[in-house]
Symmetry: C2
Amino acid sequence: MAKAPILTPQADDFPRWYQDLIGKAELADNGPVRGTMVIRPYGYSLWERMQSEVDARIKDAGAQNAYFPMFIPENYLTREAEHVEGFSPELAVVTHGGGKKLEEPVVVRPTSETIINEYFSKWVQSYRDLPLLINQWANVVRWELRPRVFLRTTEFLWQEGHTAHISYEDARDYAARIHRHVYGEFMRDVLGIDVVLGRKTARERFAGAINTLTLEGMMGDGKALQMGTSHELGQNFAKAFNTQFLADSGEREYVWQTSWGVSTRMVGGLIMSHGDDNGLRIPPRLAPVQAVVMAIKGDDAVVEAVRALGDRLKAAGVRVVVDDKTDTPFGRRAVDWELKGVPIRLEIGPRDLEAGTAMLARRIAGGKSPVQLDGVVETVAAILEEDQALLLAQSAERRAARTVDVTSIGEAVEAAATGWGRISWADLGPEGEAKLAEQGVSVRCLVTADGEVPDADDQPGNIAIVARAY
Amino acid sequence: MAKAPILTPQADDFPRWYQDLIGKAELADNGPVRGTMVIRPYGYSLWERMQSEVDARIKDAGAQNAYFPMFIPENYLTREAEHVEGFSPELAVVTHGGGKKLEEPVVVRPTSETIINEYFSKWVQSYRDLPLLINQWANVVRWELRPRVFLRTTEFLWQEGHTAHISYEDARDYAARIHRHVYGEFMRDVLGIDVVLGRKTARERFAGAINTLTLEGMMGDGKALQMGTSHELGQNFAKAFNTQFLADSGEREYVWQTSWGVSTRMVGGLIMSHGDDNGLRIPPRLAPVQAVVMAIKGDDAVVEAVRALGDRLKAAGVRVVVDDKTDTPFGRRAVDWELKGVPIRLEIGPRDLEAGTAMLARRIAGGKSPVQLDGVVETVAAILEEDQALLLAQSAERRAARTVDVTSIGEAVEAAATGWGRISWADLGPEGEAKLAEQGVSVRCLVTADGEVPDADDQPGNIAIVARAY
């Protein structure tokens, strides 16, 4: 197109493209308090769809939703030494309530392991009460020095799962189940992102965990984004909060625990995985709007036809919007739907109507061609399936094309300039990891030679995936 | 029953009955910070069902969900004089973030009119941007001196709708639409509570509103509970935040606004409306579990039969749980389901199986009788319908029986000892209202002689409904 681009091209300045898109597609605004964000209706509708898909999978995994207070007494945080060390620099502290100075300051939850364990220790008596599988959808606060909308915000929305189990093995298996079957399948099957499932090194572990499983996605600029994590907490919080159960043996034992979460950060990952210079591209299974039926002109027959087509698609289970706002020029509306990444546009004008066709524009595969109005429902369904698969394939292709095997720190840093490096963990080790960190490159995760999740950091053959990350 | 009661009987001590039930039915716990609460899974499942029903109705009314930060700069609150006066005594203030003292303290939202107007003033340019209809599901904080779980908590969950319109009439009509068609219909049709829809007096209005519409329910002890409100904000916040639009006429004008909310307080209202000495009674349309199929004993044929029946009911769209936990004595499980208010229990033991029947216990209408397994799906569906209507009828009967017409302040106070009084507002007036307040009785709302919502406080014939309230 000869027109001035609406967005800064990705190739010119990827971060600016991201900011432009968030504004132009009306996804979010910066909040008035530094690092906070206003999630606008279209951005929020993406999050709502993510919530509904993830929530169903969490419930299938047997966990129940609950809600714990966001105000945590400061002394709770200090009970688990690593945890408080990890989170204190990021805390927001309430010192006054109801017009008075509080006797003990209260912290706004950065995560809820501590307060949840306080209650688990009351609720769990015997092995019959286990496993205890709880999830909550909530806002959390971590004071961010370098905020970026959706990716790093002082307040963000997430779900946090917290479970207690009878044994190390049960907890380990449940953390792995959430990692693979809740998060992994959701991200591949719905978000269309070819995430790598791996294990964090000790350096990158959650504060208070004995193991952190992660899902890492490659963004459009080759950087990595941690899309979600699932932690084995061992008995660390159980000991800090005295969460014990009467075992079958008659002994009192500490429970074994997990915690796991995904957040509004996924919206950022979605944008940076699939977006292009014309805007978002939303995978059909996620899309709040899968198809838009547009009236090119405002004459009665056209408006009637777009509404009728909208009804037919809706009846067929397609999430559809009818755009008959013909007061606004057609071109502007089309660009806007393109920006918003709606997978299919069906455009109808008087000539199309006469021919019994609509012009079908595909946002994901690209291209535009006329379709018969008769068979349009089937066509739309087929394209949605096809384009869902296409996005995942493109995500996988990018990762394959931009990941290289490397054997030295120098090569690893070079690889991280445009994508990911794969390096033997036995060769790199924690010392090499520290050297990489000095250059802004981190070990995103460890995987086995077969690409599986290793059972231990020092498992022979482990590969470290290294990259720059958001 | 001769056994010691599980709950304090309502007639002995209604507030203690309420507390007992909340603990025994595992609805909630007190949080560690004064006035906060932990909503346990069963309590939360009631809230989730409320959310899903209300959310669908809000979307039908054209509003879209979004999310605004919970941290509000202190100076926003002070821009609308009545608003800050109303809310300052209840604020929680964050003074430290990320290890540093903040330059400007930040308030945790008690409600979001201020921060939302800040953005409305950016988003609204012309009359084409109106109406702007936004809703958010969020937690809010109001420091409570006399907290009570679900009814008055320092942190609670709610939805808050915020809209901007082109004219006074549009805003007024939308506030009324939410009041009647979103909240009123939900509370009657789903919660089964015969709420009164009325108008608040100036004394009881929301801080910053020009009119507050309310829904008042009569609880089991005759007291009133404000179940939800819908406000006309006039141009008060628009002026404070300079939210203007370019009108059709070419002039810049201030928008007209509404705000409206319902909260986790509704869970308290549900408990106190329908609960009895044996526990909760959940209206079928709301119930997370509409029917439980219980194995009386653990023999294989019985367990198989309850699972099969569970599958049949599920296939028919009934929200059903199979209770085959025969390690726990049957009586204890039955009492627990009763406490939790599940509308229908289907109990199957070896003898029932032989006879091709199940014992059906009705939590709402009461009674227990055998039903043929063959026709049980139809029976269950019919009972659920019947019991939904029964709860609403009982709620209406209670209100009729415990509401009396009075003509003096003395009589009004007497009426409020056991229920509600109705008194001519022309006779009572703001001075009489103040006198009532000294005795702990308030005007819950004004209604017309026909029971409609008046257009003004001083509309001739207005009746004040007076009561003690939670």
